[in-house]
């Protein structure tokens, strides 16, 4: 990464910076609330259940991308999106026909998701190759497998999973899939792992020399991403009631955009899953608003790009640590 020679004299408002460093998702939160209000004003019938179900895959994709990014060294896991589709395909085309379509599928698929993530992590730490290169390769591989196993969409009928696209009792089903990764991430705070993960992301050489098993921490981060992606696979299946290889790369761009918008440092060591959720909400609500005011959908791609740029530039400008001369 480029490091310009630091020039002195730019010590502007360190307190604002410190505040934003601690609550890095603050900007996204304000934006999300504003967009929510705008949505509620423009759409007389804002169907929470449906909206949440549509939102879920994006939100979970963003959350799934977060742990590996926090683990540092450019830890983008590009496989999250095709992995979500892969899990969906496994469920619809393999487990259901094999009679494993019940709740028993949940632990199986979560384990597979985590294992896929862990494989990425193992390759990254084992080969000592930039994560981006590894996950780009496995991204191709996953998309290839998705296409190969499901050349045409397979429909799923009458399965419990569609409850997560509708409602479970009075509660929107998507809330479960969205809140599950958040809950897992929160619970993880009870063990030292999460703190160590942040320290590894901040400076891995320090962590290594202090006796941290850096490789295990990294692999754990990718496994966690894979686990979340599996939950995202449920959310996709619930939403479209089918498995479609066409969704394999749908969430790659927006998930990373959401993470950046949510204030997670793309250099690692800062940020969190909650920020990514809020970042995803911003993107989703903006998209929904554009639909509501009937703007051509081809603009969406441009909007994603522009939002991603604004998010990363804004985030970098605000939360960048004070430049050290040495």
């Amino acid at each position: 990464m480029a490091i310009a020679v630091p020039v002195r004299g730019a010590h502007s408002s360190p307190n604002v910076r410190k505040l934003l460093r601690t609550y890095s998702f603050g900007f996204a939160l304000v934006l999300a609330l504003a967009l929510l209000i705008a949505n509620l004003l423009t759409q007389s019938s804002f169907g929470w259940t449906e909206q949440l179900a549509t939102f879920a895959p994006l939100a979970i994709g963003a959350m799934a991308s977060t742990p590996s990014i926090i683990s540092g060294r450019g830890g983008f896991d590009l496989t999250i999106s095709p992995l979500m589709t892969f899990i969906s395909i496994l469920f619809v085309s393999w487990l259901v026909p094999a009679g494993l379509g019940g709740y028993v599928a949940i632990p199986i698929l979560l384990a597979i998701g985590a294992a896929c993530g862990a494989i990425n992590g193992l390759i990254i730490v084992g080969l000592r190759v930039p994560p981006m290169v590894v996950t780009l390769s496995t991204y191709f591989i996953f998309i290839g497998i998705d296409l190969k196993t499901t050349p045409t969409p397979v429909t799923l009928q009458g399965n419990w999973i569609s409850d997560f696209g509708g409602s479970v009792g009075p509660i929107p089903g998507a809330l479960f899939t969205i809140l599950l990764p958040l809950a897992i991430w929160g619970l993880l705070g009870l063990v030292p792992y999460k703190r160590i993960l942040y320290a590894v992301g901040s400076n891995d050489a320090t962590a290594f020399s202090s006796g941290v098993n850096v490789s295990a921490v990294r692999v754990g981060a990718y496994a966690l991403g894979g686990l979340f992606a599996a939950i995202g696979g449920f959310a996709i299946t619930a939403l479209v009631s089918s498995a479609d290889a066409g969704t394999a790369s749908s969430y790659t761009l927006v998930a990373v955009a959401a993470v950046a918008l949510g204030g997670t440092s793309l250099a690692g060591g800062r940020g969190g899953v909650l920020g990514s959720l809020i970042g995803a909400a911003c993107i989703y609500l903006l998209q929904s608003l554009l639909n509501a005011v009937q703007i051509n959908s081809t603009w969406l791609q441009v909007m994603y790009g522009v939002m991603l740029l604004i998010a990363v530039v804004f985030g970098a400008a605000l939360t960048r640590a004070q430049k050290e001369a040495r």
Partner: protein, 341 residues
């Protein structure tokens, strides 16, 4: 970072390899792309032995044309990876360039030349912006070019309204046809173009001030800045170059493919990255374009052979992923954590 440089700093790669012969071989491999050349020959020989007609002149011509397109698409990528950057926007700018010269010429009734110049200027500006943003805010190029690529293809798509009317000029199709001849010689013009570009890239990277500054920026951006290299300018120009090259490749592709759709560029993103990495250029260097050329030839030959054996598009994707992994496993290694303490 250490201020005290022990003489005992280990070299970057494979310090564990035992034996003098293996060390020498690895040293040679680091210096020259021997393994890549051997792999290329091996795949070709295997293909020629198992597939009828692979070794025929016409099939070699078409392999060369396909490799030229992949290699040209990887021009910018090579430069950016050497500089420590990365370009995800290749596919976006390829589609953008192709659409501009096919659809927009008809829509706005402008000449091919005007459309081309417009596309080049726009791409150059967007690339320069990406480079500026990456450098100024220290953001991973992956993210920024993901965004600029999406914007590029999105804007063009909005213009064309998603309908893909129009076609490329006939002369462009002739230029890119494998059957075409260059001044009566049986070599496709596109291949000749590629050879010229290869020479130009090699001279630029190794024999010019600009090339050396680009390499220095990749090797140590901070030290380059201290050594009076204006690294932001290097980043800006390199990203602008990459975007412009992608647009030009898009134009060539429009001629080659005849019709254009929004997924036209996708394979070339994969191929550009794969060609550079398989060729053996490492992030931040060392490496050069000649390696990318070998990488592009190898990948194209392999793809041709596989298709000959009945592989599908999905198989190709899986294979590409696997090959990149194998390639980086062999020589794309970072320093071990223990060497960074």
């Amino acid at each position: 970072m250490s201020t005290v440089q022990q003489a005992a700093k280990p070299p970057v790669a494979s310090t564990r390899a035992p034996g003098g012969a293996l060390q020498t071989a690895l040293g040679l491999q680091r210096r020259y792309p021997i393994m890549q050349a051997v792999a290329l020959v091996a795949v070709f020989v295997y293909g020629a032995a198992t597939l009828d007609g692979l070794a025929s002149a016409s099939s070699i011509r078409s392999i060369l044309v396909l490799a030229s397109l992949a290699g040209l698409a990887a021009c910018g990528q090579t430069m950016l990876i050497l500089m420590g950057g990365f370009d995800m926007s290749v596919s976006g700018f390829i589609v953008g360039g192709a659409l501009v010269v096919t659809s927009l010429t008809g829509k706005y009734n402008i000449s091919f030349g005007v459309a081309l110049v417009g596309a080049i200027v726009a791409a150059g500006l967007m690339g320069a912006m990406a480079g500026q943003i990456c450098h100024r805010f220290e953001i991973q190029p992956l993210i920024v070019t993901l965004a600029t690529g999406a914007i590029a293809v999105g804007v063009v798509q909005v213009q064309t309204g998603g309908t893909l009317a129009g076609s490329s000029p006939a002369w462009l199709s002739r230029l890119t046809s494998p059957a075409a001849k260059t001044f009566g010689v049986g070599v496709p013009p596109l291949v000749v173009l590629w050879v010229v570009v290869t020479i130009a890239m090699s001279v630029f990277l190794h024999r010019t001030v600009g090339g050396r500054r680009l390499m220095a920026t990749g090797a140590n951006s901070r030290a380059a800045e201290f050594s009076l290299v204006r690294t932001r300018r290097v980043w800006t120009l390199a990203f602008a170059f990459s975007a412009v090259v992608a647009v030009l490749v898009g134009v060539l592709l429009a001629g080659f493919a005849g019709s254009v759709d929004a997924t036209l560029g996708n394979p070339y993103l994969f191929q550009s990255v794969a060609a550079v990495i398989v060729g053996g250029t490492v992030f931040g260097g060392p490496g050069d374009y000649a390696r990318t050329v070998l990488g592009a030839l190898f990948l194209t030959t392999l793809t041709t052979v596989l298709i000959g054996h009945g592989a599908s598009a999905a198989d190709q994707q899986i294979l590409y992923g696997a090959i990149i992994l194998i390639a980086v496993a062999v020589y794309g290694r970072d320093r071990a954590l223990r060497d960074r303490v």
